[in-house]
Amino acid sequence: MTSTLPRQVPYPQEGRGQPAISLRGAALSFGKRTLWKGLDLDIMPGEFFAVLGPNGSGKTSFLKVLLGLQALDSGTARVDGRPIARGSRTLGYIPQQKSFPPETPLRARDLVGLGVDGHRWGLRMRSRAYNERVDGLLRDVGAESYADAPVGLLSGGEQQRLRAAQALATDPTVLLCDEPLLSLDLHHQQAVSSLINRQCHEKNSAVVFVTHEINPVIEYVDRVLYLADGEFRVGTPEDVMTSEVLSDLYRSPVEVLHSNGRIVVVGLPDDTTHHHESA
């Protein structure tokens, strides 16, 4: 490491109790390729934490570790002070947008209902509490108008709002998002990201937001983890998203331009530049 920054930037609002997510000496590799190693990280409740980097840099694997779907090679990972357990109700998860087939036998409210109790065995005995919970979640994400529409006929943006509702169903203290804005139009990008931001800054959930495009959420992001080539940098967007830091990380000259509050990265290796240019 020839870092010009300390690896761990202390969170500016320290003293808010125990971290929501805590990694110590975490390392992960696939075969001979190291995705990251020596990762020490505390993510606090109410923090909007973006994970950036090119394809294959281990962004999604980072989420899988937190979800308990992928074991670390070394080091420890804790959520809410406890070791990671798969299926924990303190974690909410918004996966990448993936369309439902047109004839999926579920309405919007049924999909959200799966987020409430879909993991339980047996048939569901419909109760008032269940119905009220689902209605409340649909209201929270602004999906009431299509609550009874078949999910297969909804647009990608509408489906993604429902996934947000599913993820919020357990009132998670940690919200993990895997490129939740991918393939959404600008209008829905804003709607979904402001929803996630509300959960973060109003309800005090820690948000881990994996994306290759920081601009749609730039106004919300508190800190960034930038992964590339088995190396990483952690810090505020102002600290990390600079020509100097990214050139160092990629080991080749990269230029970071700021325009109208947006960040444009030019000259990335392996042709990922276009990701950073489109909003």
């Binding site: 299926g87 996966p95 036998p105 879909g118 065995w121 047996g122 006929l153 909804l154 647009s155």
Partner: protein
């Protein structure tokens, strides 16, 4: 054979009142299979397993043919064949594309084996034909009990895994993240499907099993997306097809399967028609409300 003779061969209702009590067991068996097919068919559609059902059926046929050849219980042979096939598919093919090529490779092999066993068999020809095209005329009490017993076990197991299976079928990634044992459920479902296929083959035969396990659910999905209603319609359609098919086949000398598949197909056509009207109405409603986001894509495709 002129047209009149063909028609009277297809629809004969002479001595109907006397014949009806003789097929009491068959009717019960048909209703049980309709119920089972309707329930499991919903998940078959959701999990995109139509081709797998066909593949399992051919291996089930091979198992049944082998049992016939060595003088063993045909239902047991059919069960062994289809559960083995279902397990192989469940363990091997996670992604639909891999699975389909495995099925495409295994299915003709199973069918070929079945034909070999039947060619070696020297018993009644009707037994041979029945495995492929269905035979429900003579269901004795022992067979009925076996069939109903298996069906009840499958239905109880299905009820127990209903919700997590729905979750895993709709969104496997999310279900896995929520702690649903997605892979285990997938294998268990394949076993339940294998048993259902083996039982259905006893009525409609290996070639036509899709009429019982796919068509009713596919028809139901054309007219509704409410999960409870899909299951209810699917069961009603499947039962109507089988029981109606047996009742129509009763007087004639034609196997039961053409009646079953025709009723089932007619229901599907009707549902498609209703479904296309429904989606047109929806798109108009959406325009009126001014929600351009509510796509109606692929509703009639």
């Amino acid at each position: 054979m002129n047209f009149q003779e063909i028609l009277s061969a297809i629809f004969t209702f002479d001595n109907y009142a006397q014949l009806l009590p003789l097929v009491r067991n068959s009717l019960i068996a048909g209703a049980v299979l309709g119920l089972l097919g309707g329930l499991i068919g919903t998940f078959v559609m959701m999990r995109d397993l139509a081709f797998a059902v066909h593949g399992i059926a051919e291996l089930s046929f091979a198992g049944a043919a082998f049992a016939l050849l060595i003088g063993a219980n045909v239902v047991a042979g059919s069960l062994v064949g289809s559960v083995l096939a279902a397990l192989v598919l469940g363990v091997m093919g996670i992604r639909a594309r891999d699975r389909n090529s495995v099925i495409g490779v295994v299915m003709p092999f199973g069918l070929g084996l079945g034909i070999l066993f039947l060619a070696l068999y020297e018993g009644r020809a009707a037994n041979k034909f029945g495995l492929l095209t269905g035979q429900i005329v003579s269901v004795d009490d022992v067979q009925l009990n076996l069939l109903a017993g298996c069906a009840v076990v499958v239905m109880i197991a299905l009820a127990a895994i209903w919700r997590p299976l729905t979750f895993a079928s709709a969104d496997a990634d999310l279900a896995e993240a929520r702690g649903v044992p997605v892979r285990g459920l997938s294998i268990l479902f394949m076993v339940l499907l294998g048993v259902s296929v083996a039982l259905s083959i006893q009525v409609v035969g290996a070639l036509l099993v899709l009429a019982l396990l796919i068509t009713p659910a596919a028809a139901a999905l054309k007219v509704t997306s409410a999960p409870g209603f899909v299951v209810l319609l699917s069961v009603v359609f499947a039962c109507t097809s089988v029981v109606g098919g047996i009742l129509l086949a009763l007087g004639g000398r034609i196997p039961v399967s053409p009646y079953v598949t025709t009723i089932s197909f007619a229901i599907y056509l009707a549902c498609r028609l209703i479904g296309s009207r429904r989606s047109r109405r929806r798109s108009r409603r959406v325009d009126a409300v001014g929600q351009p986001d509510l796509r109606v894509a692929g509703s009639s495709a």
